[in-house]
C-alpha cells in the first residue's frame, strides 16, 4: 500500500520504539493484576475499571506494534539480506541446503524483515563473556526478552482484542459475583501470561508463560469452586495439562542440549534445519513437545479436559478455552516449526505425524459434538475439532493457512461462546434440549451474531472461516491444480469430512437453540449492551477478516487485498524456515467444500423440520435409526461415553494404580516414616530428661547457687572493715601510704 511506503522513512524510529518496548504490553496487564488484586476490593462493583483500562491500553499498544510491523513489511525491499542467509547456509552444509531456503527466496513473494529480538540478561552462570547475554551463542547465559515478528504481532492483536471484548462482556455477565475482583484480577493475569508467552524469545520463557496460562486456566475454570463438578473440572484440566507439560520440559531440555546449550528460539530453529541437531534427537524432542501441544491444544487423546473446562464462566471459555490459550500449542508449533516439521516427518511416506494427530482430532471432536446437550460443550468439541484442523494444516506444511485459521477461528469462536453466554445469561441454563428453543424471537441481536459466527465456522462464503478453511484444504495439495508441497490424501479427506460434520452439528445447535418452540421457564430477554456490543463487533469482524488473505486471483478485490495476511505475518528475513506450502486456490475445490457444508445443513435442517412438524417441543426422534439398528445404537453410546477415554483415564489408568499405590504409601508411612518419627521423639524425650536432671539441676543450678553463697560470705567478712570511723580510715590510708613508700624506697 502506498500509504505505508511513504511513511516508512519517517516512522522508522517510532517502529523500533514499539518493537523494543513490546514488553510493556504484558507488563501493563501484570500491573493490572497486582493492582486489582490488592485494591480491587475498595472499588467494589467498579473493580473492572483497572482491568478494562489496562487491556484497552494493551490493545492500542498491540495495534500500534502491528501497524509498525506492517509498515515495515510494506516498505521492506528484502532480497539482499535473505540471499546472504541462504548462501551462508548453503555453504555450511550441502545436505541441509535443500531444506534450508528462506521461503522468501524460494517462493519469490514479498519479503519480510528480520524478527526483532530485544533481550536483557536474565541470569548467567558465569561463563558469558562480560556477563553479556547479547552474545546469544554464549553458553550458560539466558536472556529474557521479546521476539517481534509477524506471528507474534498477529497473536498480540488477537489476544488483546479478544481479551478486551471479554473484559467488557464480563462486566455484565459476572456482575454481582462474590469474587468479582478475583475474577478480573485473574483475567488480567491470564492476558499478561499469554502475551508473555507470545512474545517469548527463548524456550525457557515459553515454558514460564505456558505454565502461567495453565494456572490461570485452572483458577478461572474453578471460579465457582463451591460446586464439586467445577473444582473437579479445574483439577482435571490442570492434571491433564501437567501430563503434557512434562513433555514440554523434556522437549525443551533436549533442544537446549542438542542445539548447543541455548534456549534461544531462533538459534534452535536454525539448528533444527541445518542438521546441527540429529534426526533422532529432533524426533524425540518433537514428540515430547507434541505431547504438550496435545494437552494444551486439546488434541486427541489428551483433549478430555477441554469440554469439562466449560464449567468455568462463559467469557472465560471464550477467551481461554476457545480463542487464545488453547491455541498456545498451535502457536508453539508455528514458533518451533522447523523442529516439528523435521522431527515429525515420517520418513519417505510424505506424511507428517502432526497431520495424522490433527486429522484424527478434527473428525473425532466433530463427531462428539453431535451428542451434546450442553451448548457450551458443543462449542468445546467444535474447538477441539478446529484445533485439529490447524494442527493438520501445520502437518501438511500449510503454515500460513494454519495461522490464518487460528486468527479467524479466534474471532468467530469467541463470538459463538459469547453468544452462548448471552443465551445462558437469559435462560439461566446451558441445556439446549430442556431450556432453549425459539430464542430468535426473544434475542434477535444474539441470534443474528450467532448465525454469522456459525456461518463463519461452517465456512460459508464469504465469511471468515470460508477463506481459512479453503486454504487448508487446498494446502493438502490433493485437488488438481492446488500444488502445495506434497499430496496428503488422509488429511484432505479428514478435512472434507470435518467440513460436513461442522455444518451438521452447528445446524443442530442453531435449531435447538433458536428455532422450534421455547422449552424453558419464564420469558427470555435480550442481553444488555455490554454483552451485545462485543457480540456485534466480533460478528462484524467474522464477516470481514477473511478478506485479509483472499487469493490474489480473485476478481475485483484480489489484487487489492489479496494475501495481505501472508505477506505481513509469514516469517522471512533472517529466519530460516521449512518451505511453506502456498497452494494455489482452486475454485472447484471451494465449490465442493461449500457444497458438502450445504448438503449437511440441508439434511439436518430437514430432519428437524420434520420433527417439528410432528411435535413442536420434540428434540429427538423416537423410533428412529437408533432404535432400529444395534450398530447405530452402539455408535451413539460410544460417542456419549466420549470414546471411553475418561473411563480409560480414571477407571483403568488411575484405578489400577491408585489402589496399590495408596496401600504401599500407607505401609511406608506406618512402618518406616512413623517409626523414624517415633524413635526420634523417644530419643528426644530421653535426652531431655537427662539434660534436666544432670545438666540443668546439677551443673547449672549448682553454679548459680554457689556463686551467690560465695558472694554472701565474702561480703560478711568485708563489712567489718567499714566501721564508719573517719580516723580509722585515715590511719589505714596513711599506713598504706607508708608501706607503699617503704616498698618504693627499697625497690627503687
Amino acid at each position: 500500500m502506498p500509504i505505508f511506503a511513504a511513511e516508512v522513512a519517517n516512522t522508522f524510529e517510532m517502529n523500533s520504539w514499539f518493537f523494543d518496548n513490546a514488553w510493556l504490553i504484558p507488563a501493563l496487564m501484570a500491573a493490572s493484576f497486582v493492582v486489582t488484586l490488592f485494591f480491587g476490593k475498595r472499588l467494589g462493583a467498579k473493580a473492572h475499571v483497572i482491568g478494562v483500562g489496562a487491556v484497552a491500553a494493551s490493545f492500542v499498544l498491540a495495534l500500534l506494534t502491528a501497524y509498525s510491523w506492517i509498515s515495515q513489511v510494506e516498505g521492506y525491499d528484502g532480497g539482499a539480506e535473505n540471499a546472504v542467509v541462504a548462501t551462508e547456509l548453503a555453504a555450511g552444509d550441502e545436505f541441509a541446503a535443500e531444506d534450508v531456503t528462506s521461503h522468501n527466496v524460494e517462493g519469490g513473494g514479498a519479503a519480510t524483515p528480520a524478527p526483532v529480538v530485544t533481550s536483557v540478561c536474565w541470569f548467567d552462570t558465569g561463563d558469558a563473556p562480560n556477563n553479556n547475554c547479547d552474545d546469544r551463542g554464549a553458553a550458560k547465559a539466558v536472556g529474557i526478552g521479546t521476539l517481534i515478528d509477524g506471528q507474534s504481532v498477529m497473536m498480540l492483536v488477537v489476544v488483546t482484542f479478544i481479551s478486551l471484548l471479554v473484559h467488557v462482556f464480563s462486566t455484565d455477565y459476572v456482575s454481582g459475583d462474590r469474587r468479582y475482583t478475583h475474577y478480573f484480577a485473574f483475567l488480567s493475569l491470564f492476558t499478561a501470561s499469554m502475551l508473555f508467552m507470545v512474545l517469548a524469545s527463548s524456550t525457557l520463557q515459553l515454558i514460564v508463560g505456558w505454565e502461567l496460562v495453565g494456572v490461570c486456566s485452572f483458577v478461572l475454570i474453578g471460579h465457582w469452586w463451591e460446586e464439586k463438578p467445577n473444582s473437579d473440572a479445574a483439577m482435571k484440566a490442570f492434571l491433564t495439562n501437567r501430563v503434557g507439560d512434562i513433555g514440554l520440559l523434556i522437549g525443551v531440555s533436549i533442544l537446549f542440549v542438542t542445539a548447543g546449550n541455548t534456549f534461544d528460539i531462533q538459534t534452535i530453529n536454525n539448528a533444527a534445519l541445518t542438521g546441527v541437531i540429529s534426526q533422532n534427537s529432533l524426533l524425540v524432542a518433537s514428540l515430547a513437545l507434541m505431547a504438550a501441544v496435545m494437552s494444551k491444544s486439546g488434541q486427541f487423546i489428551l483433549h478430555t479436559w477441554l469440554p469439562d473446562a466449560m464449567a468455568g464462566p462463559t467469557p472465560v471459555s471464550a477467551l481461554i478455552h476457545a480463542a487464545t490459550m488453547v491455541v498456545a500449542g498451535i502457536y508453539m508449533i508455528g514458533r518451533l516449526y522447523p523442529v516439528f516439521w523435521e522431527g515429525l516427518s515420517i520418513a519417505g511416506s510424505n506424511l507428517n505425524a502432526m497431520a495424522l494427530i490433527g486429522g484424527i482430532t478434527t473428525v473425532g471432536g466433530g463427531l462428539l459434538a453431535f451428542v451434546q446437550r450442553d451448548i457450551k460443550k458443543v462449542l468445546a468439541y467444535s474447538t477441539v475439532s478446529q484445533l485439529g484442523y490447524m494442527v493438520m494444516a501445520l502437518g501438511v506444511g500449510a503454515w500460513t493457512a494454519a495461522m490464518f485459521h487460528l486468527f479467524t477461528h479466534a474471532i468467530f469462536k469467541a463470538c459463538l461462546f459469547l453468544g452462548a453466554g448471552s443465551v445462558s445469561h437469559s435462560v439461566h441454563s446451558f441445556d439446549m434440549k430442556n431450556d432453549m428453543g425459539g430464542l430468535r424471537k426473544y434475542m434477535p441481536k444474539t441470534f443474528i451474531t450467532f448465525m454469522i459466527a456459525t456461518g463463519a465456522l461452517i465456512g460459508l462464503p464469504p465469511l471468515a472461516g470460508f477463506w481459512s478453511k479453503d486454504e487448508i484444504l487446498a494446502g493438502a495439495g490433493v485437488w488438481s491444480g492446488t500444488g502445495g508441497n506434497g499430496t496428503y490424501y488422509i488429511p484432505f479427506i479428514f478435512g472434507l469430512i470435518t467440513a460436513g460434520l461442522t455444518a451438521a452439528y452447528m445446524t443442530r445447535t442453531i435449531w435447538l437453540v433458536f428455532f422450534g418452540q421455547y422449552r424453558g421457564n419464564g420469558t427470555p430477554h435480550e442481553s444488555g449492551p455490554r454483552i451485545t456490543i462485543p457480540l456485534s463487533i466480533l460478528a462484524g469482524l467474522a464477516v470481514v477478516v477473511g478478506f485479509l488473505n483472499v487469493p490474489e486471483e480473485l476478481p475485483l478485490i484480489g489484487s487489492r487485498f489479496g494475501l495481505k495476511f501472508q505477506n505481513w505475518f509469514e516469517p522471512g528475513g533472517g529466519t530460516v524456515f521449512p518451505v511453506i506450502a502456498h497452494a494455489k486456490p482452486s475454485f472447484s475445490l471451494a465449490i465442493v467444500a461449500t457444497g458438502i457444508g450445504l448438503i449437511s445443513i440441508f439434511t439436518v435442517w430437514t430432519y428437524y423440520q420434520r420433527l417439528y412438524a410432528k411435535d413442536s417441543r420434540a428434540t429427538e426422534v423416537t423410533g428412529g435409526i437408533r432404535d432400529r439398528s444395534a450398530l447405530a445404537r452402539a455408535g451413539h453410546t460410544v460417542l456419549v461415553e466420549k470414546y471411553y477415554l475418561d473411563h480409560l483415564y480414571t477407571g483403568v489408568i488411575a484405578g489400577s494404580t491408585k489402589g496399590w499405590l495408596a496401600r504401599s504409601a500407607y505401609w511406608v508411612n506406618q512402618n518406616i516414616i512413623d517409626n523414624v518419627i517415633n524413635y526420634t521423639g523417644k530419643g528426644a524425650a530421653a535426652t531431655g530428661r537427662f539434660l534436666y536432671r544432670y545438666i540443668d539441676q546439677g551443673a547449672i543450678d549448682g553454679t548459680v547457687n554457689g556463686t551467690g553463697l560465695t558472694a554472701l560470705s565474702v561480703g560478711g567478712i568485708l563489712r567489718r572493715m567499714q566501721s564508719g570511723k573517719v580516723r580509722q580510715y585515715a590511719t589505714l590510708m596513711f599506713g598504706a601510704a607508708t608501706v607503699l613508700a617503704a616498698i618504693f624506697i627499697i625497690a627503687v
Binding site: 568485708l718 567499714q722 564508719g724 580516723r727 596513711f734
Partner: protein, 99 residues
Amino acid sequence: MFLNQFLLFAALLFCIGVYGVLTRKNGVLILMSIELILNAVNINLVAFGAFNGTIAGQVFALFVIAVAAAEVGVGLAIVLLIYRNRRSIDVSEADLLQG
C-alpha cells in the same frame, strides 16, 4: 644549697599534721592538721622550684593554697552541720556510714 633544711622542715610539719589528723577527735583541729600537711607540701614545692631555678613550684603552691581554701570552706560547713545535728563536733561519734 640548703635544700635539705627545707625538706626536713617540711617533713617535720607533715608528721605533725598527720599526728594531728590521727589523734584529734575535734573536727576543727583535724581540719587545721590537714592545713599543716598541705603547707608542708607547699614548702616542698617552693623549695624545689627555687632549687631548680623555675617558678613552676611557686605556681603550684599558689594553686594548692587556693584549693586548700576551698577545702576548708567545705570542711567547716560540714563540721558546722554536724554540730547543729549533734551539739558536738566529735568525729568519732559520726560513724553512720559503717557497714
